[in-house]
Amino acid sequence: MRILTVVKQVPDSNATIKLAAGGNDIDRAGVKLVVDPFDEFGIELAVQLKEKRSDVSEVVAMTLGPDKASEALRVALAMGADKGVHLNDPAFESKNELFAAYVMSEAIKKDADGFDLVLCGKYNIDLDAGAVGPAMAEFLGWPHVGAVIGLEIADDGKRFTARRRIEGAEEVVECDLPVVLTIDKGLVEPRYPSLPNLMKAKKKPVAVLTSSDIPGESAAEAGTDFLSVQPPPPRPECTFIEGEPEEMAKELVRVLREEAKVV
């Protein structure tokens, strides 16, 4: 069994985000970039499967992005992936998730040894769309199970049972491999790469693919374009009312009536 895990480099959730000139993207200069925390679940799951099962021959990490995105691959390799694939070409640069999914699915199809399991995060914390996993499955003609929180792969490596969280319930699905799974929080706890493993990761092979390997014009048309991005509205002013319960209630009524004028 060969496992592919998709990783995306995204702004750290603690980073201060500013808008870029033009207003349809964020300013990436000086912003700390990390491996998407949901994609880390995919890497961890892939590595655990390799550690537990004798039939997992290889874990490959794939990313789509500029030169800097290779850092995300190095993290995946330090966590235990065997090799990396970096889809790096200005022609691939797009915030269109359908296009990214198309390019990655083409790269998966072109892999000579083939994959049985493709893993990625339930969604990425930057765009929050969750489209890449299902779209890749569609391009590959594979099934897809989203937001997985439990996974049991049969000993023969051909069939699996997955649990997924839906609103107010949990679904249990059974399915054949190959499959695309998107992973939710709770299934695995991503490890911190140790220093020796970070050093070893530098020696692991990374293949770089460009638009000459994957002609990508056909799928871009059906996607969406970003017109603008805006920061969330500033948090409204908050007033604390303090005192004894009776006084607080009185003051609340006064404020609602005289200041907010809502009652």
Binding site: Y123, G130, P134, H144, G146, A147, R165, I166, E171, T182
Partner: protein, 103 residues
């Protein structure tokens, strides 16, 4: 030129999920801009009884796909059902709730 807005009304075990009504309200707003009307697509098994609620929610026309096979949500039969409704309705925009089974 298509101008109607089609809403996929999500029901689970005979209960309509609240997001469906939000989308019906949005569909009515959008229909004002496109000069069309808000329509709904209702998929499941034995869901006829829900059409009244969907109409009250603002759907001017409802496409019902009702089959025992559709009792439980499964992506491919539901996709086929919704695609059939889209083909019949030829809407300008399709609205689908961003709920967990849809991902």
């Amino acid at each position: 030129m298509a101008s109607n807005i089609l809403v996929f009304v999500e029901q689970r075990e005979g209960k309509i999920l609240p997001a469906s009504f939000q989308l019906l309200a949005l569909a009515n707003e959008l229909a004002g801009a496109t000069g069309g009307q808000a329509e709904a697509c209702l998929v499941g098994s034995g869901v006829d009884g829900l059409t009244q609620r969907v109409a009250e929610g603002g759907a001017k026309k409802i496409y019902v796909v009702d089959d025992a096979e559709l009792a439980k949500y499964r992506a491919m039969p539901y996709t086929a059902a919704v695609c059939a409704a889209i083909d019949a309705a030829t809407p300008k925009i399709v609205l689908v709730p961003s709920s967990a089974p849809r991902r």
